[in-house]
């Protein structure tokens, strides 16, 4: 039984289809890595998986409220401390303990530091630590390793490993090799064709 799957999915950005005919399924314990050049629609696909935008066509099948989403922006507040930032998201997602997440991402020593004073890499780590306090089975991650050094990438990879080992799943858009068993899914062949007529969008005009 897959945790999240899509069937004949077409996703659109600004009303324009960017990827079409996508079908895949991710089961518990699996990591799906999305690859494709910049602007190929990976972010749009991930936002659709997270439920932030409706599919243009086709469907996304997942339990409601099972997806934790992390994108380029970490959603951190500069004037709140590390522990407060994390504690807030833990509270929003139902009060999970923040200690394991702080420890895992080496943020324990920084817990009282305002997030505004963190380095880019530390911010990123805090943003990823948020995933651990959501308690959601499916992680949908958009370029999670940006501005992380090698050691932090390893921390992140082990967090993902632990998560999927515990029955979770992850869909990650990334360019680097994270060093775990993964299914690679290249989105390039699914680039939406521009010469076909669709009945809903601009073809409806004139």
């Amino acid at each position: 039984m897959s945790l999240i799957s899509v069937k004949d999915l077409t996703v659109s950005r600004g009303g324009m289809p960017v990827l079409e005919g996508l079908s895949f399924a991710v089961s518990a314990g699996e990591v799906l890595v999305l690859r494709g050049p910049n602007g190929s629609g990976k972010t749009t696909l991930l936002r659709t998986l997270a439920g932030l935008q409706p599919p243009y066509a086709g469907e996304v099948m997942a339990e409601p409220e099972s997806v934790a989403y992390a994108a380029h922006a970490d959603g951190l507040k500069a004037t709140l401390s590390v522990a407060e930032n994390l504690g807030f998201w833990a509270g929003v997602y139902g009060g999970h303990d923040i200690e394991p997440a702080l420890l895992h991402f080496n943020l324990d020593a920084l817990r009282e530091r305002p997030a505004g004073n963190l380095s880019a890499g530390q911010k990123r780590r805090l943003g990823l630590a948020r995933l651990m306090v959501t308690g959601r089975p499916i992680w949908v991650l958009d370029e999670p390793t940006v501005s992380l050094d090698a050691a932090s990438v390893a921390l992140f990879a082990s967090a993902v490993k632990a998560h999927v080992a515990a029955g979770g799943a992850a869909v990650i858009a990334t360019h680097i090799d994270l060093g775990f068993e993964e299914t690679v899914f290249d989105v390039t062949p699914f680039k939406a064709r521009m010469d076909v007529v669709r009945d809903d969008f601009d073809e409806a005009f004139l």
């Binding site: 936002r47 997270a50 439920g51 932030l52 935008q53 409706p54 409220e65 997806v67 934790a68 989403y69 992390a70 994108a71 380029h72 922006a73 970490d74 959603g75 951190l76 507040k77 500069a78 004037t79 709140l80 407060e84 807030f88 998201w89 509270g91 929003v92 997602y93 139902g94 948020r130």
Partner: protein, 218 residues
């Protein structure tokens, strides 16, 4: 949801600006008016309810674009939209936090500023009552305007254009109650109307605002 409320209030206090700014703006506005219209006490007394209400309204407007814009920029709004809290609840909590950090201080400061403007002593009571009843409507209507313009370049100016006309009924009834109160007339009808607008805004506008945010995020 309580956590969200607390976070927004904490942020408003810590980031400076959010909390003190509206209040300071209110004070400056009230100070400037006598320079504009002259020091005549009777004249000031006559226009005081209107000045205080318009001042409160503008002070409220000043911090409105912070409600969603900051969360939109740093990605929090995406995360809140995928969180287990309904987006309508998020909007309502944020509007409430805005009221507590902007509207409530204005209510408390208004009597002191009324003193500066020779506000009629009979009107004090009604000024506080109407501001207390009316300012939540300002925050909730404002959160709707902020939701419509979230993510737009130069959204702040556009938001003022959209929100100010929506403030008209609240302003009219609020100032009317104070004027009638000062004159010793019956205030029940405008007061009830104003309360109705506030309750309606609190009950319905979060749904409209949440719908607007969903559209803006997609």
């Amino acid at each position: 949801m309580i956590r969200l409320l607390w976070r927004d209030i904490t942020l408003a206090f810590r980031s400076g600006g959010g909390f003190g700014l509206g209040l300071g703006f209110f004070l400056i506005l009230v100070t400037l008016v006598p320079f504009g219209v002259g020091p005549d006490g009777e004249m000031l007394s006559a226009i005081a309810p209107g000045i205080l209400w318009v001042g409160a309204l503008l002070a409220c407007l000043l911090s409105l674009d912070r409600i969603f814009a900051l969360d939109f920029e740093d990605g929090s709004l995406d995360l809140l939209a995928t969180a287990p809290i309904p987006l309508e609840g998020v909007v309502a909590m944020k509007a409430l936090a805005h009221w507590i950090t902007t509207g409530l201080p204005l209510v408390l400061a208004a009597p002191a500023l009324g003193f500066l403007l020779h506000l009629d002593s009979a009107a004090y009571r009604w000024l506080i009552v109407t501001l207390l009843i009316g300012t939540p409507a300002l925050s909730f209507i404002g959160s709707f305007g902020a939701a419509l313009t979230v993510g737009l370049k130069r959204g702040g100016l556009l938001m003022s254009l959209l929100v100010l006309p929506l403030y008209i009924p609240t302003l009219i009834f609020g100032a009317e109650v104070v004027r009638r109160g000062a004159g010793g007339f019956l205030v029940a009808t405008p007061l009830a109307m104003q309360a109705g607008i506030t309750l309606g805004a609190i009950a319905l506008l979060p749904f409209a605002a949440a719908a607007a945010i969903r559209v803006a995020l997609r």
